[in-house]
């Protein structure tokens, strides 16, 4: 009579081979389990998962299933073992996945003060291609050489050099909103105090600039990230734009506190708010900094 046998293989947290006769049929069961960090698409996160591979072999046939579970949920199942437990030597101590384009690296990419110039460059390319076709059309009409195009290239190079390593993508978007906004608000205040044609024109132009420039820069960033297939960065950017929207609403509604008090109190609140902006900048909270 053949006795059932159990073999334990020390290459995974759990790896057991069990052979037995059941109803006169020889069955071999292999069970293998271990933990591993895997990207779980439905939760968009890299999580610790339990990987379990179960194989059953009987005369004339076999079956094997691979199951991946996390947070008490079965997130993946497939036939075969997907290579999960195929080796029996070299004990795996631990392993993890690192994904260049995921949200964690995307956040780093957006905040890294090396890549803001890429958005500017992309924007200039987008605008320059329009400008170049316009110049080409004029040059063809007057049969002039296209030396002007070199000026466009030189301007791009100068901007690349000036901005390289000094600004992040998030800061670029933030500044594209805040600079025209400050010009708009100040010219608006002057228009309210001194209703002249010049201040009125400045207000109207800066109103267009406030919305137009941020829109152009953000679209340029989105185009660039899409071209680079940075899905994680796009996800972080969409959250940032939503946060920015909330903070802009909050900042504007809260500005009602400036209506009743005297100039001195207004100045004190403004100074305190500026200090908070500096803190947010140091804490690397761009949406709060722009809103604050």
């Amino acid at each position: 009579m053949l006795l059932p046998s159990i073999s334990v293989i020390n290459d995974y947290a759990l790896h057991v081979l069990y052979d037995d006769f059941v109803g006169g049929v020889q069955l071999s069961v292999e069970l293998c389990g271990y933990k591993e960090e895997r990207y779980v698409a439905m939760l968009d996160a890299v999580l610790w998962c339990i990987i379990i591979s179960i194989g059953i072999q009987w005369p004339g046939g076999s079956s094997r299933r691979l199951m991946v579970a996390t947070l008490n949920m079965l997130v993946h199942m497939e036939e075969g073992d997907g290579g999960a437990c195929s080796h029996r030597g070299g004990v795996v101590v631990d392993g993890y996945e690192w994904i260049f384009r995921d949200s964690k690296n995307g956040d780093k990419f957006l905040k890294d003060r090396k890549y803001g110039w890429l958005v500017i460059k992309n924007l200039i390319h987008m605008l320059a291609s329009e400008f170049e076709s316009f110049l080409e059309a004029i040059a063809r009409k007057i049969h002039a050489p296209l030396e002007t195009l070199e000026v466009v290239d030189r301007t791009q190079d100068m901007l690349d050099n000036a901005l390289a390593g000094k600004i992040s993508i998030i800061q670029t978007i933030g500044l594209s909103l805040i600079i025209p906004y400050i010009i708009y608000v100040c010219s608006l205040a002057l228009t309210v105090v001194y209703p002249r044609l010049v201040t009125g024109i400045a207000t109207v132009i800066s109103y267009g600039g406030t919305i137009g420039i941020m829109s152009l820069v953000s679209k340029s960033a989105i185009t660039l990230l899409e071209r680079y297939r940075m899905w994680g960065a796009l996800s972080v950017l969409s959250d940032y734009l939503m946060d920015l929207s909330k903070f802009v609403v909050l900042a504007t509604v809260l500005s009602l506190v400036f209506v009743p008090p005297s100039r001195g109190v207004e100045a004190a609140i403004t100074f305190g708010s500026l200090l908070l902006d500096v803190c947010m900048y140091i804490m690397d909270q761009p949406a709060l900094e722009v809103g604050g």
Binding site: G82, S86, H87, G89, G90, V92, V93, D94, G95, Y96, E97, W98, I99, F100, R101, Y115, I178, Y181, I182, V185, C186, L188, A189, V192, V193, T210, S215, S218, I222, T223, E226, Y228, R229, M230, W231, L234, L237, S238, L241, M242, L244, S245, F247, V248, A251, T252, V253, L254, S255, F258, V259, R263, E266, I269, T270, S273, D277, E289, G291, G292
Partner: protein, 219 residues
């Protein structure tokens, strides 16, 4: 900054309540424009993310040990091994980009190191490095050196790269790219002062999307 610049505007306007209310109402008008624009841009970013995610994959290359002779006194504490690397995705850039090996000694040393693929990211042209965390893999710091590390690096000799490990651990082998989806690392390493749990081998592999798998193997 928006709140602060609003503050400056109110200081400029002065203490005239009617003017201040008028200013605030105009600011609310601008707020509507900015908010609508930000929502449209948010939607653009979400759509772009969906388009990109539909075309990329996030499966790092798998690693499988196909040969492993445990070092012991009978073989002079020599490890013989072969680890296969298999790309698991089937999209445009689902190709093995680079892979490598390092020997580490558990204990003092650093929390981790960075390894650099042989070239810039083929999609964006941006340089990146892959963090290898010893504390994550082994639960403690570890020591390694340039003489204990090797990577395929683009295949120095027609698809393969011979490597040599020097020092207390010595030996060598080959990092071989069989085709764009298959590669292997083999070798023989001799340990002058082998002890159980002292040395580990870490193998990393990355595909052209930048999906990397890092695995530590106990000897």
């Amino acid at each position: 900054m928006i709140f602060s610049s609003n503050g400056f505007a109110f200081i400029l306007v002065g203490d005239d309540m009617v003017r201040e209310v008028a200013l605030w109402l105009i600011l609310i008008h601008l707020l509507v424009g900015i908010t609508l624009d930000l929502h449209a841009l948010h939607n653009d970013a979400v759509s772009a993310e969906h388009r990109v995610r539909g075309g990329v994959e996030v499966l790092p290359p798998g690693q499988y040990v196909s040969r492993w002779s445990v070092p012991d006194a009978s073989n002079g504490y020599t490890l013989g091994f072969r680890i296969d690397v298999v790309e698991e995705g089937d999209r445009e850039y689902s190709r093995i980009f680079d892979f490598g090996i390092m020997v580490v000694e558990k204990g003092d040393g650093r929390q981790g190191v960075h390894v650099y693929p042989h070239s810039v990211d083929p999609i964006s042209g941006i340089n990146y490095s892959i963090p290898i965390s010893f504390t994550k893999l082994l639960g403690s710091n570890a020591t390694t050196s340039d003489a204990w590390r090797a990577s395929w690096g683009g295949g120095l000799s027609d698809g393969f790269t011979e490597y040599e490990i020097k020092g207390r651990v010595h030996g060598g082998g080959v990092l071989y790219l069989v085709d764009e989806k298959h590669a292997f690392i083999n070798g023989t390493l001799t340990f002058d002062d082998w002890e159980p749990g002292k040395y580990y081998i870490i193998v990393w592999a990355v595909d052209e999307y930048g999906n990397a798998r890092i695995v530590a193997y106990d000897l």
